[in-house]
Amino acid sequence: MPVKDYIRERFFPHLWCPGCGHGIVMNALIRAIEALGLSKNEIVMVSGIGCSSRISGYLDFHTLHTIHGRALAFATGVKMGLPELNIIVPMGDGDALAIGGNHFIHAARRNIEMTAIIMNNRIYGMTGGQYSPLSGYGTLATTAPYMNIDHAFDVVQLSIAAGATFVARTTTYHVQQMTDCFKKAILHEGFSVVEVLSQCPTYFGRKNKMGSAADMMAFYRDHTTPIGSKKKKENPDLIERGIFVQKDLPEYCRAYDTVIERAKGKGQKG
């Protein structure tokens, strides 16, 4: 199916700034869904609020544009009610890990089947460039004009510790890897997290003198490396990308079916 069949053309050109990485994430997500041959009717996209969350307005699936930080809570409700649907939850780093941090760790802990995409631009884009829990020590932001003294989360380590059963990281430079991660995450029967390093040239880039959108992507190219590579051993500062965890644990909706069976008095003996 042509790419344009997956979008709501009436909202294009979209509102993201020139060179915003979020558009590249949307592009890769469309390719992944097309490659998997999923029909638009079996996908529910649930987002919160932020530049990143606008993606649910642009894509032509069942979409819910909910409230800041709560996308996973809404998504949990949808999945429990209609477990046969594929749930995709795109979130900004602020949306997912500042205001939404608790929803995030508990959705991961439950291992409910859905794909959480963290579009990590290390800043609050929509509200004017405030620092986020992913900005990192020493960075500049509208609300940290001298320097940010908060340390950043490591999204991958946090997700693993919280119990996510599929965890990957990629960047907007590595578009083929991004599509591949999305495909595997969507197919995974459990809670999947894909962190995508995604440039915000307007705020994070400008505040931290990182140049153009293309310069920021070149930074991802030059400062990341495949998991366990030789380069990583030589230069521990490189950020690893790839699939960190992919394992099977009981999935929440399926486990809940067992509870229902037991409550009905069947399967008591087991």
Binding site: F12, P13, P18, G19, G21, V175
Partner: protein
């Protein structure tokens, strides 16, 4: 598989925001920005149809059409 041969780049000019990402990362320097900051196919004969411009465009403004496509 035969090497794909370029038919054309389909460009949705109103959607292109001139970010320059496709220009910066085209391995064959096929693309340029024009005076209006819109993408322009300057050297189509050098295109190897890798589609990286299409995949990296944040605005879904560029599509690489190859010769074999469309026949069935």
């Amino acid at each position: 598989m035969a090497k794909p041969k370029l038919k054309e780049h389909q460009i949705q000019t109103e959607w292109c925001k001139g970010c320059g990402i496709c220009v910066a990362f085209c391995p064959k320097s096929v693309l340029e920005l024009d005076s209006q900051d819109k993408v322009r196919v300057a050297r189509p004969e050098d295109c190897i149809c890798c589609r990286l411009c299409e995949l990296r465009c944040p605005d879904i403004a560029i599509e690489v059409i190859v010769e074999q496509e469309g026949s069935g």
